[in-house]
Symmetry: C2
């Protein structure tokens, strides 16, 4: 009798594990933290280009969406974005570290089946939870890169993109 | 007798499938294509901020690294970055579409086991192949976001980040 085991097409097999994606994200977060550290304190809340938001507001969006978003992924409860309450870079970095720890705490509590579930993130954005988590990561890369340009125009060399140590 | 089946920790289970990651990337590539279309033709090869490369060179890096990189992922043969040979936006867009098709062709030829293999990408960057593919995607998001700032300072509204249609 021939072996009739169904072979799953390669396209439907895992690209990476949940733990690997977490590690990838936290590596990006280390780079974003380094960007905040490199930004001049006296420009962090004010400097902008082309009418865009200053670095502080770009980081505030990342922080607020990530904290509340990960809670939504875990529990299906979507609270409003958390607001960043900080008037210095040190306070921003402290909140950054809190959200980093929050991600590490929440991640193992997310059932694997949840990644493929469709939910209405923040009551607004419908999609699978893996899509939403990728959105959080991509949005961080996108806004951080804009702050790279701010730094360059301020004459400051940004942290190396490839270095996630 | 108790059921002693080993339950794999959630952290080691799949975050998303290979096909889902491909779809995610191609959605990003549609946005990058729209960014190229939105960039003024007379500024595409020249305009820059802070001593950075013009939009044409940011896109050339994405194109060259992606084309040669995907061939390396498939075959383990790492040729030099492909260079972009284009003197107009239309030529850039034509090369963009070639690489889009190349990714779609190569993707199903990559054995699933390859994602977890370690290789020396371009003879320089050691890592797993899933890490390298994520690097290609992240690098595209990073450079595209910098071109967003160029557009803003040129007084042009960039394509919406969330729209990947």
């Amino acid at each position: 009798m021939e072996n009739t085991t169904q072979i799953e097409p390669a396209q439907n097999q895992a690209f990476l594990s949940s733990q690997q994606l977490l590690d990838h994200w936290q590596a990006h977060r280390r780079l974003t933290r380094r960007l905040i550290e490199a930004f001049p304190a006296d420009q962090f809340f004010t400097y902008s280009l082309g009418g865009m938001r200053p670095c502080s507001e770009l980081i505030a969006e990342i922080l607020g969406m990530t904290g509340a978003g990960m809670e939504g992924v875990r529990s299906g409860r979507w609270d409003a974005f958390q607001t960043m309450d900080a008037s210095s870079k040190d306070e921003v970095l402290a909140q950054w570290d809190q959200v980093t720890a929050q991600i590490d705490t929440i991640w193992p509590q997310i059932p694997t089946s949840r990644y493929q579930e469709v939910d209405l993130a923040f009551g607004l954005y419908e999609g699978t939870m893996y899509w939403f988590i990728l959105y959080l990561i991509d949005n961080e890369i996108h806004h951080r890169a804009q702050a790279y340009v701010y730094l360059r125009t301020l004459g400051i060399e940004p942290p190396a993109f490839w270095d996630r140590s």
